[in-house]
Symmetry: C2
């Protein structure tokens, strides 16, 4: 999830750590998919459109899916960042929890529904359980754990339930708003519906 340091290539990504070129391919692919859709485009189409040879693209990504996953990872990192920024503004643990989810949901809606192509990719990602989705949920759970620990320290939250159970259950309860495929069906209930679940979660955390 670190975007500044060089990181090892993710699954399906190949070749040396030439971040510049990999990023260039990802950006060009994102622009191309935006116009022509993710589902129907082949790596050959993409190569032609962005002016690289197919073989050159395959030096960095072993399939279209690997490029899709890189776009997906980029997008999910932005969603988590939005949660982080929003959370930082909360003073109490309860307020941080509320703001974290609000930040995530607002950014998800913005990214995934304003850019149709990202929604296509998100659909594939969720259907096929892509690694960036797992990483995203793990990041969300990590943030949640920080917030719960803080609330247990300050006495805002109960301390009896094992912390991992608490965090997992909260994520599961919020899943309809965190998974873009599900969020799609729940758009018209925003922002009231997730707020109701967050209130329920906060009642469950009462000491």
């Amino acid at each position: 999830m670190n975007t500044t340091d060089p990181s090892p290539p993710a699954a399906g990504q190949r070749g040396p750590l030439e971040h510049g070129i990999r990023d260039q391919i990802v950006d060009a692919a994102r622009a191309h998919f935006s116009r022509f859709g993710y589902g129907k485009t082949t790596v050959a189409d993409l190569a032609k459109a962005i002016g690289f040879s197919k073989a050159y693209i395959y030096k960095f990504f072993d399939s279209k899916q690997a490029i899709g996953q890189a776009i997906c990872a980029q997008c999910l990192e932005k969603i988590i960042e939005s949660g982080d920024v929003s959370m930082a503004e909360g003073k109490s643990a309860a307020e941080k929890l509320r703001r974290f989810f609000n930040g995530i949901i607002a950014k998800s809606v913005e990214l995934i529904f304003e850019e149709k192509m990202l929604h296509d990719i998100a659909a594939h990602a969720a259907e096929e359980r892509w690694p960036p989705v797992t990483a995203y949920l793990a990041s969300a759970e990590e943030r949640l754990k920080e917030i719960i620990l803080l609330g247990r320290e300050t006495g805002e939250f109960e301390r009896k339930t094992p912390i991992d159970e608490t965090c997992e259950a909260i994520l599961l309860a919020m899943l309809s708003f965190m998974n873009p495929l599900m969020l799609k069906h729940n758009l018209e209930g925003l922002p009231e519906d997730p707020a109701k679940v967050i209130n329920l979660v906060l009642r469950s955390l009462a000491p």
Copy 2:
């Protein structure tokens, strides 16, 4: 939701209250969709296969979707019934709540995933917000309200939160397991994941 008394035709259903024939069409359609899929079959295909004229089918249902909705309604009624039966075995309100959701989820998995065709119909139902889905959620909320009221009476549950808010929030928290499209993505977490959310819900209900 009453399956024994004659009821007025639902949206998209036409003609007199000739339940026998309507049911016959629904049963035949269900068998036909099972073999050939819901998406690709036309009313003409269906008419041919079940030996009725197209015009005769249109006397009872104004579109394939109306037949799909009748199948969907039948299926969702069975799911609610399973929740009812399971709930009746619980002694405390907490136990009723747990059993109600377990009954619903078990039947959903059985019906929707063992019969591929029903999953296709459920996908259309959820995508297009079919009235039987709305009716199903309303039935579930009604049961939930009974359980919460019981728990408030017996002193098991808190009484501060407005009852409608409590019920809505619980349904929303459980949505990933109640909507078949979402449940599909959560099958491998059964039965532990819904149990975790139910535990969270019960903590939120503590007086």
